[in-house]
């Protein structure tokens, strides 16, 4: 992309250790603008830690993470993250979106109207005045997406956006994620749900015990991954279907 983009995001030999254990090791990868990148891997593989490192919430203990060099400014302002367990502020759904806009320096006069448009896009306009903490899990997840999407981020990190949601709530979230990606935001997400990965991903990154052992287009990955651990992961999951 052009000089004003923060992408690509480049990780070089990135490692992360805590309390004497190596959680991530030797991760070298480039995230380009465009394709939806889905990170797969079993519990504890290091998916959430990887997203936190990319988003700047954790500092790598080895290697380097760099946004596009030509970008002048704070890359933090151009990215957003929706956490595995999003934190809702103790105020209305609308006020949660307005809060994000205020921190991002969005023009005060337009905050409320913009927040309402975002709530409408995720199907929550009718619940705008409800206390956010009293919303259902699926509604809170959609609210978290609206709060992040409202910032028009260039990159959006999503950590298991549909964990603990029923299938219909998960579908709604997937539709929103699809719309976010279509409007030009680079989506980097994790999931356990292989069906979801098939529906949303353009490319798959497979993490195994803190190492990135496979990266392939979605079709290539699901046709048959080259890493045996990835193949075992696919088989293991399918055997539950």
């Amino acid at each position: 992309m052009s000089a004003e983009s923060i992408l690509p995001l480049a990780l070089a030999e990135v490692g992360f250790s805590a309390g004497g254990t190596r959680i991530l090791d030797g991760i070298t990868v480039r995230f380009e603008a465009g394709p939806v990148s889905v990170i797969l891997g079993s519990n504890g593989a290091g998916k959430s830690v990887l997203l936190r490192l990319c988003h700047g919430l954790l500092a790598p203990t080895a290697g380097r993470i760099a946004w596009h060099g030509g970008f002048a400014g704070d890359p933090r302002r151009r990215q957003a993250m929706v956490f595995q367990r999003p934190v809702m502020l103790r105020r209305s759904a609308l006020a949660n979106v307005v809060y994000g806009l205020a921190l991002a320096g969005h023009a005060r006069a337009d905050r409320s109207a913009h927040a309402r448009r975002m709530l409408e896009r995720v199907g929550l306009l009718a619940l705008a005045e409800r206390p956010a903490r009293l919303l259902s899990g699926g509604e809170q997840q959609r609210l978290a997406l609206a709060r992040a999407w409202a910032l028009k981020p260039e990159v959006l990190f999503l950590d298991e956006p549909t964990a603990n949601l029923d299938p219909s709530a998960a579908r709604m979230v997937e539709e929103i994620v699809g719309a976010i990606a279509r409007e030009g935001t680079k989506v980097i997400m994790t999931t356990h749900d292989l069906g979801q990965a098939k529906r949303l991903a353009d490319e798959i990154l497979f993490l195994h015990r803190g190492r990135l052992i496979e990266r392939a287009s979605k079709d290539a990955f699901f046709a048959g991954p080259s890493a045996p651990e990835a193949a075992a992961f696919l088989r293991g999951d399918l055997s539950w279907d």
């Binding site: 936190r52 934190v87 105020r91």
Partner: protein, 235 residues
């Protein structure tokens, strides 16, 4: 004895219902002093507690331990310290505050401050554990994070403030030492109860005791109501 108590109680109730001027001026001064002390302690203790919770600095654990310990400061000792500060020979002697309501406000502020600051620190630290990554991700700086947490914890924090007010209204040692229990000037409910009891004027003492108890009950009622209002709003 039982007759004494019964007679004292009925006289006390007559005094309360009959709006006895002497009784109500004492109640009014009590409220004024304790409310002023609570407002001051809150103005200092809320930001102070939030600061200690959010900013890491060397010796933070020690500060926290000291703060927590100060919640149990004996009022008489605080009174003595303020007395030494405000006495004519003391460093703040020239202010001429000793044996005025001002001195009592200063002493009670020092009593309430550790409660408000320590409870605020605990509440904000717990919330920060939950909010830290989300607020950092949204780009909140330290001041914005502090303001957000204080606002989001408002219902729990009000409880801390009310607890502080309850402590101020119920203590006798500090206000006695720095105020001197001067009739019509620095006499408040607790000092008055102590004095009237020792003089044997049980109706006056009991009347004030009933008002004080009602006040404490009301504070706890308000705290509970606020908490459940907060819970209803998901706060």
């Amino acid at each position: 004895m039982g007759g004494d108590l019964g007679q004292a109680a009925s006289t006390a109730i007559q005094m309360i219902v009959g709006a006895d001027w002497r009784l109500w001026s004492v109640v009014f001064l009590s409220l004024k002093v304790s409310l002023a002390a609570t407002v001051l302690a809150t103005a200092i203790g809320l930001p102070l507690g939030a600061l200690i919770a959010l900013k890491s600095f060397p010796g933070r654990n020690l500060v926290t331990v000291i703060l927590n310990a100060c919640m149990g400061l004996p009022p008489v000792v605080v009174g003595l310290l303020v007395y030494l500060l405000l006495s004519r020979a003391g460093p703040l002697g020239p202010l001429g505050l000793l044996f005025t309501p001002g001195a009592m406000i200063v002493a009670q502020t020092l009593l309430v401050l550790p409660i408000v600051a320590a409870v605020t620190r605990q509440i904000i630290a717990d919330a920060w554990g939950e909010y830290r990554e989300q607020l950092t991700s949204l780009g909140a700086g330290p001041m914005q994070a502090a303001a957000t947490l204080i606002y989001d914890c408002r219902f729990s924090l009000v409880t801390a403030v009310l607890a502080g007010f309850g402590r101020a209204a119920a203590e006798v040692g500090a206000v006695l030492v720095v105020g001197g229990n001067i009739d019509g000037v620095t006499r408040v409910m607790t000092t008055s109860i102590a004095l009237e009891t020792s003089k044997g004027d049980l109706p006056q003492a009991l009347g004030l005791g009933i008002v004080l108890m009602a006040l404490v009950l009301a504070i706890n009622g308000i705290a509970l109501a606020l908490r459940s209002a907060g819970a209803r709003q998901g706060a």
